[in-house]
């Protein structure tokens, strides 16, 4: 049906919201994961393994379980919920900020691990050379370590973006699947399937499929071609 190519406002809102959420999640994660990955790559502290395990937790927790604990912790009776209320930020569940927070937690390992790998594979040598040239550690980090880790940063950004687009359990639990507010593409598909509107569900799912393929293709491009060009 040609008519079905004209998406209704609810679907357009869901697509726009998904893209906004995924972009912001990737940006926030780049700022958050880079120092964390640097610390994990450099530190010899005995807390290192504990923090590394905590960062990897979202990989093994079922998304709906993670979503449930975030919902309870950020709810009116939860410790974090009391904190956000005391700070005058209100309650985060069922808002866009809540979705963003949930997505950042959920995609954290996908951002930290590629950056950490990039820092680790660089070795200590470049930083030592920078130090002998009298670069301050901070200066060396920005002018030596970060540029060397650039492919890892790209992989982290793409992976956390794609992972957020595909997330379902966390956003359904924390967002409540409210039209025009917290309904993203994945929860929109769920609604169509439950309402037995398979045509609309197939359309959106096909879009997701094409999109995911594009992202994964871009990813392998960054991992192989781009690296080759730099050498």
């Amino acid at each position: 049906m040609p008519m079905s190519f004209f998406l209704d406002s609810q679907t357009l809102d869901a697509i726009a919201l998904t893209l906004r959420l995924a972009t912001l999640t990737a940006l926030v994660l780049l700022f958050l994961a880079t120092p964390l990955a640097w610390w994990l790559a450099q530190s010899t502290s005995r807390w290192r393994s504990v923090i590394a395990a905590l960062v990897a937790m979202p990989l093994v927790l079922p998304p709906s379980v993670l979503g449930f604990y975030l919902l309870v912790a950020l709810g009116p009776q939860g410790p974090l919920g009391r904190f956000t209320q005391a700070m005058g930020w209100g309650l985060l569940p069922f808002t866009f900020s809540g979705l963003l927070l949930g997505s950042v937690v959920y995609s954290l390992p996908f951002a930290v691990q590629p950056i950490q790998n990039a820092f680790e594979s660089m070795g200590r040598r470049p930083m030592e050379v920078a130090a002998t040239l009298r670069a301050s550690p901070l200066d060396a980090f920005f002018t030596v370590a970060l540029p060397l880790a650039q492919p890892g940063l790209w992989v982290a950004a793409i992976l956390s973006f794609a992972h957020t687009v595909g997330e379902f359990g966390v956003v359904l639990m924390m967002g409540g699947n409210i039209a025009h507010q917290t309904r993203v593409v994945s929860t929109e598909i769920y609604g169509h399937v439950e309402a037995m509107e398979y045509a609309q569900a197939h359309e959106l799912a096909a879009g997701m499929l094409v999109f995911s393929f594009g992202v994964l293709w871009l990813l392998s491009f960054f991992k192989t071609e781009r690296m080759r060009w730099w050498r």
């Binding site: 919902l71 709810g75 569940p93 069922f94 409540g176 699947n177 039209a179 609604g191 037995m196």
Partner: protein, 257 residues
């Protein structure tokens, strides 16, 4: 003068959007009632001017969300126990609960002629697998288990049961013919008042406790005219016709409990 007029127009527009928002009601809808509720919401908007914004999900999820500050104002649950529990805990406006639909259980197969219209197919082991929804989580699953047990054929079928996570999953297992026979909701296999394909036995009500689906006014919707109006509209003739056309029964007198 021009600026004054612009400000007035802006103020009027702002007032209009504020009004439009006041007429919106946020509704948490049991996933199995998604299709009829979309139709009801359209009619509701046409006849009252209020807009129902629907969210679909599992009843257990909604319960957790409502306890944790979800903005929903009206709740259409898939059972009658969860809204009762929510009322006892103070999340539901007392006295607002009502049964909006009664689910009908059906034994269904994709193959024509496989299921007879008195359920005799269950009396012997006619299939190696029988699908039903998780009886602990899904009211239709609990009703299916009761039916097997009251017919005295539970021991026969127990080793052959395939449990779906919810009634939607069970439907998919039977519809894809992964499982030859299964207990699903009549609303899932009925199209325009008829069972669309395969063969089916609508399980008589005496074989299981009624599958009541209750609606409730949530505390967030207490002073919301649109929320109250939606609950009233659910009992109206046009809404009830839609509910019946999707294979649900209605309580004899559908008043509040």
């Amino acid at each position: 003068m021009g600026t004054m007029r612009q400000i007035t127009i802006l103020l009027m527009l702002w007032a209009l959007t504020a009004l439009a928002q006041a007429n919106e009601v946020l509704v948490a809808v049991a996933a199995n009632f998604a299709a009829p509720m979309q139709k009801i919401a359209q009619q509701f908007e046409q006849s009252t001017g209020h807009k129902a914004v629907l969210s679909f999900g599992a009843t257990g999820t909604f319960y957790a969300q409502i306890k944790n500050g979800a903005p929903f104002q009206v709740w259409l649950a898939a059972d009658d126990e969860t809204p009762l529990k929510a009322e006892q805990e103070g999340w539901v406006v007392p006295g607002s609960r009502m049964t909006y639909a009664i689910g009908k259980l059906v034994l269904w197969s994709k193959q024509p002629g496989r299921v007879d219209d008195s359920g005799n197919v269950l009396l012997s082991a006619t299939a190696d697998r029988l699908a039903l929804a998780n009886p602990k989580l899904a009211p239709y699953g609990a009703a299916a288990l009761q039916t097997l047990s009251r017919m005295g054929v539970l021991p026969l079928w127990q080793p052959r049961l395939v449990e779906g996570q919810n009634i939607a999953q069970t439907y998919q297992q039977v519809a894809s013919e992964t499982v030859p026979l299964g207990f699903v909701a009549l609303s899932q296999v009925m199209v325009e008042g008829k069972i669309a394909e395969g063969s089916a036995w609508v399980v008589p009500e005496r074989w299981h406790d009624p599958i009541r689906q209750d609606a409730a006014l949530l505390v967030r919707g207490r002073d919301q005219a649109a929320a109250q109006a939606l609950l009233t509209f659910l009992r109206s003739e046009p809404a009830q016709a839609i509910i019946r056309s999707y294979g649900y029964a209605l309580p004899v007198s559908s008043r509040a409990h």
